[in-house]
Symmetry: C2
Subunit: 219 residues, 2 copies
């Protein structure tokens, strides 16, 4: 389901850098951890957090329940770890596409296309991030606040380069960032998770037209 979660690693506790008491010390351990992580991604992706069970995760991973607790303190801990990783993965997939574009507006379009593409191939993971709102509020919040802040800065820079129009007040950048982010997330839900019949480019083009020129009738 997942494949490779390049792990950092830190048991989802977020800040403090290295070796928690649960960090694997041998190659064998690292391998097992990876198995558990991927299994958890599958399990939670399919059944969701509450329906998902540790026993089943262990089974998927082909290890004993006890081994799970060798690497994670609790069910919530794996989940948090997963959220953090997913959050990173999405960004790593999308941001380069935005930067590669000739200008911010084109980047916006490329970014949405990349995002839709990512969502379509990672429906389960998408669900994990969303569900984190109810399992690990702080992680969820951090994810979106981070993305939004990045967005706001990026927009301001583009404005500095004359690529997009400015706002009235300063706080507008935040509003715009959240607005566009919401747009993308919902388009991802609708045309990524729920309905992948239409080509990604088509959606991106339509959204781009809206973002670029707005709804006001042309004079």
């Amino acid at each position: 389901m997942t494949g490779d979660l390049g792990w950092d690693w830190n048991n989802g506790v977020t800040a403090t850098p290295q070796t928690s008491a649960k960090t694997p010390r041998t190659e064998r351990g690292r391998k097992t951890l990876r198995l558990i992580l991927d299994a958890a991604a599958e399990e939670f992706g399919i059944r969701g957090y509450h329906e998902g069970s540790i026993a089943r995760i262990a089974q998927r991973a082909g290890v004993a329940i006890g081994s799970f607790y060798t690497y994670f303190d609790s069910k919530e801990a794996v989940f948090r770890a997963l959220v953090a990783d997913m959050s990173r993965q999405v960004r790593e997939h999308v941001v380069p596409c935005i930067l590669a574009a000739p200008d911010r507006l084109a980047g916006e379009r490329a970014g949405l296309a990349a995002y839709l593409d990512f969502v379509r191939t990672h429906k389960a993971l998408y669900r994990i991030i969303d569900e984190s709102a109810f399992v690990a509020e702080d992680a969820y919040r951090r994810h979106y606040v981070d993305v939004a802040d990045g967005y706001a800065v990026s927009l301001q820079q583009a404005f500095g380069r004359g690529e997009i129009r400015g706002g009235i007040s300063d706080g507008d950048w935040q509003v715009r960032a959240w607005a566009i982010m919401g747009m993308n997330v919902f388009l991802g839900l609708k045309f990524g998770v729920w309905d992948d019949s239409r080509p990604v480019e088509e959606i991106a083009a339509a959204a781009h037209a809206l973002i670029a020129d707005g709804l006001s009738p042309p004079r």
Copy 2:
């Protein structure tokens, strides 16, 4: 927390109109049902679905646990009922504001302001709708699909009246509808639930500017 949920009524099973086996038949019964419903809204709003407990709902309502099961088949049933009601409430609060505006674009702005306002005064209920994505997918889906479809139609009509610009293809209306809806939902999350320090009008104005004219630099 809630106050008045004008109940229709149908135990959340959605379609079939009247009297399920659980419909109250006396005034006394209707009163109790109302108590339970409001209590459930509070409980789920504060603790969320999984943390929320029937025992606590009954307690809040001032009735015995058994009475709960006189009116609902299960925990999920109340939750679904709540979602359906909330969905209706939001629409009833926002739609009139949109229609009252002189044109669609002004309506968009008024609608967002009304929505933010509603969210700020109903944070708990907002959470219920969102969580339904993981407790009652179909209800969640129905809610957003309904809203989006209404949106799409409304936009097309506005186009017919020359109030907004058209799209390239026909499917664009759906894309636009989902995009704008997502925008509003996220602005609601950020500036309604998480941060209500800025005046609603300010947010609505900034969003309106974006929707109306887009990001392209003015010529």
